[in-house]
Symmetry: C3
Subunit: 479 residues, 3 copies
């Protein structure tokens, strides 16, 4: 590597890109879209930049895919590059029990950039930790699918003028859909109002709602409140304060207006049957009847595809349907992202969060898996036996809005563990063999001591690990 | 698309190409074969036209394949193009329940041309209906496999001088082999005499025989007639009248000569065990003993491969064996077809049936699936639940040779439904809630009324749909 | 093909390359490694020779693989070539029962070079017998994995100066690991001392040890002898005599020194669970504790990967760990091998054993499968029903060191069949219907008679085949 080598960037979450960077991706995508459309002979694809000639993209897919994998590979070919593909875990080394951490370190020698899809939440982040080349998350469990969101936003941008003041209804499985999770973060960051229409029992996960409120400054506004329910599906989510760097500068948001205005887009997702044990469930069906409501008169209909039954095929000829355009834009948008991550543009680049949306710089707690508190998400990559040696219990220490209590956020899958009445965190000191309640001990301890400090879910866990309560803490408690 | 954009052509059936067009494909293939053979250094493949540079072929294979897929991909690479591949339905969106219609609309944005293989008859035609780029049928159920037939004919042409006056024996599974179906249409169109040697119970399907007789003007001539059987395997199939545009113009056929002359080629197919429930069946075995008969002394031995046990490996060194050449010609023939469909040749092109073999321009009846008569072929793509929303009950109205009765031919799988004593078609009028016998109502009704007319298999079905017999029809019947 | 066409070379065993040729491969690999490292822009892979432009590599993988397949494909792309891939036997023609012999003859028309992986020992040799283009063995059953060995040796060469006088410990499954088998042959040929550390019951196979001793002139030297055991794991294997053409010329080996000196490398392999019926077994674990022994203080730690639990992840940051480098060198080494086999270098080439390590020119016995003696290795490709028509009972006639008795070595899987007290070979004469003991009859019979002579495992088998003992033999025996 030469001295001028820029940082290797990974796109694991949509939040790994600032608003400004997303704008840069869209500018490049617009150029590529133009190239792809300028065909000088029939069928001739004019895109001849050969920008990525001699570069190799590796597709590592541990879950079924047509759209995502083939659009990445098509994008790489349209850039003049080439592909190597592992599309089926059953015929790869994963069948021999190889860890993701080992696989990615090896593949990083065979390719210049990697796109990965994996059934575990947080798998792509773990892969990035071990990769020497850029890693793009092509979907990890129920966590995120950032490049789908880039396609979605790019399509909305081409249809509407601004995401600001926009109202987007999201329907279906809001819990298990990684597409939805990346999408709502982006909508919130660009100041859109979100109208959740979940299938029963498939509401947005609490940690996603928490992030919308706490990090992306969304306000939850009651719709017609339903008696006896405080569930999030009865709320609108609207940007609560102007973002300094939203994509398209707009005056202040009028919340009343946001609630009254008509819906600009209805975004439907399929029932993710591979993530639910039941085969059938009540599920919203978007069809001409649904869209007959006046508020949807001008609503674009979006779907990340594949659809099963939740989106009526009769809508395909409806002028509001833009879901095939969403799919088509997968190529120029992914061409843009790949070429930017490979630093192939002369006058465009991804600046690491310069002046843009800033990822919170939270203190990180880390211990080997098997010691202390564990991510509570059973599908987290840290729960995969093959990865035990390579992942760790890594948590961000999050301040509650009250400032009184902390919670922990898993570095990989980004789900939160909150202390509650039944489970107070305690911090154990492996040297002194003592523990004390709360997470304060982590904050007040000099860095070099941190490795002796272990967080336990509660006192019982700490005692089971052979620690006893610190005298001062006991006195304070019983005092 | 520019104004000069030619039509997007799909090759679903060998009958989608006129004889003249097949000749054009062979001319281009001959040039490519020459290029591939002119190696200036050891192993150097001299084919450097880069004709398809910047073009992408998508291989969508829903059934196992080595030969067809890899020869298409090799052909695309030899043309300077690139490939994206979905080789296993279990690791694609099909595993999530996606319809073919949706998949092809998406893939059409990622690639410039698509080859598809599918277990359902008629699947490729459905795909073509929804594709914005050319679709090539790489084999659909038991229906057709037109590019295999192009390879077969090209190999025969290179070995013999003319298909006219040629006698070709076809042995094995004539019922389930899509390869055979495409092949016999082509043989008939080029004036060859066909000698069917089916395994017991695996005779040519009635609808294929019907087309040979009615559309391709074949005469069925009795071989030594077997007592108590009128099955087609006791017949020769010979061209009954000169074709205006056969590949190699020849004087009139002498039928007597055709029957007496020796066999020019024996074409064997494997037992398609994936299409039969039994594992084992009596099956012809082509070996030295079989070919020892004097009439096979100069017969080329052909096989589309893969073979299992029906073709003795000891024949591999027999001078009559040309089956590996058949496989080898897959590359130049497919190079020719791809480059012609992409309009990459300056002085060669596929003219849409100009002056050539003319596909019959039959009236088409269409109703949504679930209403009225259904294709009787259980393996037709119209019977696939995932495609219900996207396919339709589409039938050509065919005149019987007598001119008295009609039959229906499924647009997708091309099997026929014939009325018989037990099942008289009736046409229902959804506005008047009446039905009348026969299909005449369709013909005599102005076009704008057609959508109210539904064909039912018989009276019982029409009554079950809540219709009652038209008074005039009842009077006519009861007289 | 032109007159100047060189021989088509196949790399099935590491012993298909002379020491001099291995050196040539490494010289080319070193050049490619330099090219790959000279990146003039960030991430830019400078390797732009386009040496293999217009060439196609076919990957035929009948067993899971990530590393081998993707590194071959990456190597081909870095050379400017292209790939066609069959990565999953379940979606290929193998699912239809196609033989390897047929498949390779077809694929040889689609690609210019083929890499094959197969679960059967000897499969790659059978493939090569039928291929018209070079075949590289990407791993065949428990037999060999020669390109892995090239990567291993290249890595060792880059780390140490010479393989001569080197001591390499090999740990784990020495029985089922094809990687180990190719590796020990190469180590022996380059004069290294081998220290086997097998898991219990996973010792080097007898036929491998036999070849080390008889062909590669290794001496087995007792380590601290364990009472009551003469198993090979208690031995060192050292080169017994100077090789005329070892890679790095060195003075005579001092055996005492070889035994005393410290270990230069520890090579670990994983438990090949797919080749053993038990799920768990006692297995060596290489970790900091193991490597804490003084003799391993400077030992490089090697592993062909994937690893499961036999190699502690904590070693990844140990300076002695070179296993990821082994994987990374897969690309330049395979670039070298591919380009040399395709004759793409102006001033480098693989000379067919010219002056180098000479493969023994042993007489070959051949009979169709089903007649006479059969390879005793149940996993040999000759035992695969699909290949019965294409393989044969082919055995080299090997002289025992004593010169008294012969043994047979299977041409495909290279396992030996030795006569013992319970089973004396006999040779039957199918014309005279007699048999006589021993293999002498083969040697003293003129060539044109050989096809009438059949080897049987013992008298009982010969009698079961309807032969009777030759009178002279009977007299000699009872005499």
């Amino acid at each position: 590597m030469t001295k001028s080598q820029p940082l290797t960037r990974h796109i694991i979450s949509i939040n790994d890109l600032s608003n400004k960077e997303i704008e840069t991706v869209f500018d490049a995508a617009q150029d590529f879209l133009q190239e792809l459309s300028d065909r000088d002979v029939p069928y001739r694809i004019g895109c001849g930049s050969d920008l990525a000639s001699k570069f190799i993209l590796a597709s590592l897919f541990y879950e079924p895919s047509t759209r995502t994998r083939l659009s990445f590979e098509s994008a790489m070919l349209r850039l003049g590059g080439a592909n190597i593909t592992s599309a089926d875990p059953a015929v790869s080394s994963a069948a021999k029990g190889e860890s993701l951490a080992d696989t990615i370190r090896v593949i990083g020698n065979y390719a210049d950039i990697v796109v990965i899809r994996h059934p575990r939440d947080g798998a792509a982040r773990l892969a990035a930790d071990y990769a020497q080349v850029p890693v793009i998350n092509g979907g990890d469990g129920s966590h995120e699918h950032p490049t789908q969101t880039l396609c979605d936003l790019f399509t909305l941008r081409s249809k509407k003028k601004s995401l600001k003041n926009m109202k987007v209804a999201i329907a279906g499985d809001l819990k298990g859909s990684r597409t939805i999770h990346s999408f709502v973060y982006a909508l919130a960051r660009f100041g859109a109002t979100i109208d959740p229409l979940p299938a029963p029992g498939m509401e947005l996960p609490a940690h996603v709602v928490g992030r919308l409120r706490e990090e992306f400054h969304c306000r939850m506004i009651s719709k017609a409140p339903r008696p006896g329910t405080g569930s999030i599906d009865a709320l609108y989510v609207t940007a609560d304060q102007p973002h300094q760097l939203s994509l398209y500068a707009e005056p202040e948001i009028d919340y009343g207006l946001a609630l009254q205005k008509k819906t600009d887009a209805v975004y439907v997702t399929r029932f993710q049957k591979e993530r639910w044990s039941e085969k059938e469930r009540p599920y919203p069906k978007i069809d001409a009847k649904f869209l007959g409501e006046p508020k949807y008169a001008e609503a674009s209909v979006m779907h990340p595809l594949p659809r099963v039954n939740e989106l009526d095929a009769a809508l395909d000829s409806d002028r509001r349907a833009i879901y095939f355009r969403q799919a088509a834009y997968g190529v120029p948008v992914r061409m843009a992202l790949i070429s930017l991550l490979l630093h192939l543009h002369k006058n465009k680049s991804l600046h690491k969060f310069a002046g843009g949306f800033a990822k919170s710089d939270l203190p990180l707690y880390a211990q080997p898996i098997g010691i202390g508190i564990q991510c509570g998400n059973a599908n987290c990559i840290t729960g995969d036996p093959a990865e035990r040696q390579y992942a760790a219990n890594k948590f961000y220490l999050m301040k509650e809005p009250s400032g009184q209590r902390c919670k922990l956020r898993c570095l990989y899958c980004e789900t939160d563990i909150e202390a509650d009445a039944a489970a107070h965190f305690v911090v154990g000191d492996l040297v002194r063999k003592t523990f004390s309640p709360g997470l304060d001990a982590l904050a007040r301890t000099p860095d070099e001591r941190l490795k002796h400090l272990v967080v336990y879910k509660d006192e019982a866990d700490a005692k089971a690990a052979g620690l006893h309560e610190r005298e001062s803490a006991k006195r304070a408690r019983t005092g």
